[in-house]
Symmetry: C2
Subunit: 253 residues, 2 copies
């Protein structure tokens, strides 16, 4: 049962936060994850807590990219697992992607807890938790990033919902195609990505699933066309302008 009063003007946002706090209490989420979520909330507040048409375009391109990929991987951290565990598993199945636990604040215990949580939500295989398959990739400003030899290390396309800027840049430098979900259109993650979806993961994952169901019926050429016409910089600037207009309207109100 939710502890959020139904009448609260921002009940949905509070319910999502509550789910995250529950994830924190059960060991999936670290304190830093709660703070990061709050940052997202502020940008979402400016966005009007709705998926923009620019986010919809990015979602379409992202799903096309994942369907066309040879070895797509979805990278999962504590916040992602706590907020959209079943959606991650469903999307991975629909686009043929592997699921890998990849943590900025890593610990064996938390990795295992997240993998277990994903399994209870239907995941058959979860990478990133078996040291036997661990390898490292170079990363600026922090420890080297541990990845799975069978997962991110071997991937061509990586979906990183909620990722740090250094890690996003590290992946693009390795030649991976990177799809980010990030509510800040100015973040290094959004700018480093090939496709950045400026939206909350609780809204965009269900939309990605719906889009994957539709696009998986389409011919390869159609998907390539969608992918090629997407321009991440132009889309990010449009998202930012959209947020600016929202702020301008709010400032008049």
């Amino acid at each position: 049962m939710s502890r959020v009063p139904k009448a609260h003007p921002r009940a949905e946002s509070l319910r999502v936060r509550e789910r995250l706090v529950d994830g924190f209490k059960s060991g999936l989420v670290v304190p830093e994850g709660l703070t990061a979520h709050g940052r997202g909330e502020a940008f979402d507040y400016i966005l009007g807590e709705r998926t923009s048409k620019f986010a919809r375009r990015a979602i379409e391109a992202a799903v096309a990219e994942m369907l066309l990929a040879e070895r797509p991987v979805i990278s999962v951290n504590g916040n992602v697992a706590a907020l959209v565990p079943a959606e991650i598993v469903t999307l991975a199945r629909l686009v043929g992607a592997k699921v890998e636990v990849n943590l900025f604040h890593g610990s064996k215990k938390r990795e295992m807890a997240i993998a277990k949580y994903l399994r209870t939500h239907g995941a058959r295989e979860v990478h990133g938790v078996d040291l036997k398959f661990a390898t490292q990739i170079p990363e600026v400003n922090s420890d080297r990033q541990k990845v799975d030899r069978r997962g991110i290390a071997a991937s061509d396309v990586v979906l990183i919902p909620l990722e740090d800027g250094d890690r996003a840049e590290a992946l693009t430098k390795l030649g991976k195609r990177v799809i980010a979900i990030d509510l800040n259109p100015m973040s290094r993650t959004s700018r480093a990505a090939d496709i950045a979806i400026v939206d909350s993961i609780t809204r965009s994952l269900p939309l990605m699933i719906k889009t994957a169901k539709g696009l998986s019926q389409k011919p390869r050429e159609k998907l390539q066309k969608i992918m090629k016409k997407f321009d991440n910089n132009a889309n990010l600037n449009a998202s930012l302008r959209f947020m600016l207009e929202r702020l301008e309207n709010l400032s008049r109100g």
Copy 2:
């Protein structure tokens, strides 16, 4: 010792967050407080992590208001205690204000921990922790708000650094003059307040102390003049326009 790498592009923000996470680990801060801090970080990022001239004006008016007040009170929650405990005590002394622990997510244990933490930072008297003096004020959308009979209940001016919109509105409805510190110029707290300081508490508290030292030497008429010329709505709109300009510049960069 800070765990933040000095070279990180946003080291100061990370150090503040670290102090909050430490406060969380020692039981001052709740998970929801970490999320709330993250929201502030995002707005501060847009502000450029600097105190604007509009915030400086609000600070001047706020300090004048507190110096003129009969029974000013500073309301302290977990985040405030974790981030600026000594500054709260110093400001209270300079303006003759009482300090009251007032929690949105209340618990006896946390109240006591916060009061103790304030005492180790020099507070002689901390209100809000003795049930003998507890009374309640009406509040929309949540449980009634517990306040101290000798503190907030009897106050004419309340400083609420980091407060929920419902609580801020409840105080203004009771006829209190409300001074808020809130990084979101569109929040209900900022709009409900008589004076809203759109700035981080880690920057604005030291500035309030400096201002209190200066203004306490001034005649009463001078303080009244400062107070009367302040227009909260105009100041909030100016703050918002300032943020808009920042976003516009960021979007060009």
